[in-house]
Amino acid sequence: MPTKSSTSKIITALFLLAILINFIFFFKGNNYLITSMLIAVFSCLPFYYKYERRKPEAREIIVVAVICALAVVSRLLFAFLPGFKPIIAIIIIAGAALGKESGFLCGSLSALISNMFFGQGPWSVYQMLIWGLIGYCAGLLNQKDLLDKPVIRYSYAIICGILFSVLIDFLTVLGSGFTMAKYIALLIPALPFMAYYAISNVTFIFFLYKPFMKKLNRVKLKYGLVDEQYRV
């Protein structure tokens, strides 16, 4: 089965690429914003679809749902420090503990639902993809237990803190005609924020990673979720 599913993944990817290339030519490259938004939406779908097709068990979807709800609720708990939120750290941990697919779901659904409460915007779409990918890559990295190494763990947390601003600013600039100068001009004021997010991620990873992993592992054990198959 694994070969078949990866073939289907490649086919989906090629198909999407074809649509997007069409789009770009059709609109003569002038509508980067809408194109990128469509890319974001369409890139989320294969992940969802694959998860859907796998028919996950009750315990798997419950753990993901609990993590997403915790991620959203954590925003309230840390409300007194704006921007200082554990969501990204939680998503990284989820990916590391539950594997890449569940990691993607955790990130993506946390974004969707937290925006349902705190306001949807054009950013929601990108957020769903990027947060999803943060969880996915955490799962990918941890397939070989790489996140157990503090260096990799903290570097990853820092990258995740910067990623979102870098990308959103890029898209904003892209939308109105890309120039490097404009991009840099937008990025410079964003630098302190990026540093702040990176610090916040590192802090949360420092405090939450080990205890959270321990709790998740215990739950996995209680569910009988220890089988290797759930980490792929």
């Binding site: 205890p211 321990k214 215990r218 009988g224």
Partner: protein, 553 residues
């Protein structure tokens, strides 16, 4: 016809050394209403989990469990879902989706019923259970009792032949619990659904069941209808805590050996007393309860409180006095303002009028008086305190070296050495409570506030708790309890207060308090009202009856 047959069932959990089930043999017939009882750890929950394939615990097993002629372990998911329903203890944990309608439809979706049929079945069931008005509500906005009824309805929608319930009322307040049992009775009567109910609160279920099973140490100790069971349990051990779980009227009759007219309900109990003790010679008990200290430790003077400026008052002139080293119980229905009162005492809410004096000091003005852990609060659910992965870590987190010695003393005193290595969530309710109380005592409080401490506890655990609390009062602690548990308060409080409509309407020693109440009182008081003067406990009634019998002789 037999619907469930268990033969020689033995079971051992992977991590345990001893068998949890030691050869259980049991037959349940179609349409039976079976109640299984026994102390925590007797194996009753493990037993009924074996009746539902998806919940069967991991471990080694011998013997057979059959549903009609089918081995339950070989049952497929569809058959299991549509034939055997299972309702658990905690109402909240069983709600899966965000809307009531979705929750009701959930099971039917799973077994692949079409939308139109779901709509009709859901409508029928919502009407039957009287939750149709809640249909479009968010499931979280329901009360505990409503949630449990929703869980029951959601399970019944799959039209099971057997309905298994694991202490479904233990988290509900008494009124909701009675309502729930009534619905079970209705299901049993109208659909002939076989019901297997695990319960330790027997007062209500005793009269509806047609078969009672008592378990002990993984075995069936006694089996039969209520009358037989009551008799058998008495024969086995009259002083067991389990005997104290039998409804008061039956216990009185058994203690007096007048069992040919064994009463189960209060009505029957009154008839029983009237029959045997028409004109009693002795009618009063001359026990006076605990001596109270003169020192007032908490005093509320005309306290008014509301959460929001434009809302109605929650507390409307509360006056109460708590003396030093007493066990003060605050009774009253849901939403009467008991918890708000406690919050006001604890400084979590601030009254807009009135005074709260602790040790004679106005703590509204001197808020810092409460800063040094003067007051401690034990929540209804002790897990609210737990964040660590073992009991040892939990207790040892943020304490100083000096307290460590004190901690070790407490651990020895409370006899929880064997629990230290375990995860706090793996403990039973009673054990969790003990750990929580130790955690609280480490802060050296003077006053301990307990919110519904008996919720979900069985008779043994309640007795342990009562002894523990009494012990604490001798060590200079003052205890304030908020509770629905009339029987517990009658037995163990030094004083009781009734809270109603935002104020304390009566406050007295339990004997006087419950004697004067006509409806909101113990089963013994209801049963012996106008026959005896001040019998409020089962023991009181038995005592008076015996005295009278002797007098007659």
């Amino acid at each position: 016809m037999e619907i469930i047959t268990i033969k020689d069932l033995k079971f051992k959990y992977i991590l345990n050394d001893e068998n949890t089930l030691n050869g259980v043999n049991l037959t349940i017939n179609e349409g039976d209403f079976v109640v299984i009882c026994g102390d925590s750890g007797c194996g009753k929950s493990t037993l009924i989990k074996h009746l539902k394939k998806e919940l069967t615990p991991y471990g080694t097993r011998e013997g057979s469990i059959k549903y009609y002629n089918e081995e339950i372990s070989a049952m497929d998911l569809y058959t299991s879902a549509t034939n055997i329903g299972y309702v658990m203890q905690n109402p909240d944990n069983q709600i899966v989706t965000d809307k009531v309608w979705h929750e009701l439809a959930f099971g039917l979706e799973n077994i692949g019923v079409e939308r139109q049929i779901i709509r009709r079945r859901v409508a029928e069931m919502a009407n039957f259970f009287g939750i149709h008005t809640l249909f479009r509500e968010e499931s979280d906005t329901l009360s505990g009792g409503q949630k449990q009824i929703l869980n029951l309805a959601a399970t019944m929608l799959l039209q099971p032949n057997v309905l298994i319930l694991d202490e479904p009322t233990s988290q509900l307040d008494p009124i909701a619990a009675v309502e729930f049992i009534d619905i079970l009775k209705k299901i049993n009567d109208e659909f002939a659904t076989t019901i297997i109910l695990v319960e330790h609160r027997l007062e209500e279920v005793f009269k509806v069941a047609n078969k009672v099973i008592v378990m002990d140490q993984g075995r069936i100790l006694a089996e039969g209808n209520q009358y037989e069971i009551a008799q058998k349990v008495k024969e086995i051990d009259e002083n067991s805590t389990f005997f104290s779980a039998i409804p008061t009227p039956a216990r009185v009759a058994l203690a007096l050996d007048l069992t040919e007219r064994m009463p189960l309900t209060i009505k029957e109990g009154r008839r029983f007393l009237n029959y045997y003790f028409k004109q009693p010679l002795v009618t009063t008990i001359d026990k006076n309860g605990v001596e109270l200290s003169n020192e007032v430790i908490v005093e509320m003077k005309n306290v008014y409180f509301r959460y929001v400026k434009d809302q109605d008052d929650i507390l409307r002139g509360v006056n109460l006095k708590v003396y030093k080293n007493e066990i003060y119980c605050l009774l009253g229905g849901n939403g009467a303002g008991k918890t708000t009162t406690i919050n006001n005492i604890a400084g979590l809410a601030k009254p807009y009028r009135g005074k709260i004096l602790i040790d004679g000091i106005d703590v509204i003005k001197n808020k810092s008086y409460l800063d040094n852990n003067y007051l401690a609060y034990l929540p209804q659910n002790p897990t609210l305190l737990f964040s660590k992965d073992s009991v040892k870590e939990e207790l040892e987190s943020d304490i100083s070296e000096e307290t460590k010695e004190y901690l070790n003393n407490l651990i020895a005193e409370f006899k929880i050495e064997h629990l230290l290595g375990q995860h706090p969530y793996d403990l039973s309710g009673g054990e969790q409570q003990k750990v929580a109380i130790i955690k609280i005592l480490l802060q050296h409080p003077k006053i301990i506030l307990l919110d519904e401490p008996t919720k979900g506890l069985d008779a043994t655990a309640k007795l342990h708790l009562a002894n523990l609390l009494k012990d604490l009062t001798t060590k200079d602690y003052t205890i304030i309890i908020v509770s629905h548990d009339i029987e517990f308060c009658a037995q163990h409080a030094s004083r009781c207060a009734m809270f109603f409509d935002g104020e304390v309407v009566s406050e007295d020693k339990p004997r006087i308090f419950f004697k004067d109440n006509n409806f909101y009182t113990t089963a013994a008081a209801k049963m012996s009202r106008s026959i005896f003067d001040n019998a409020i406990l089962c023991e009181d009634v038995i005592d008076l009856c015996q005295q009278n019998l002797q007098q007659v002789k």
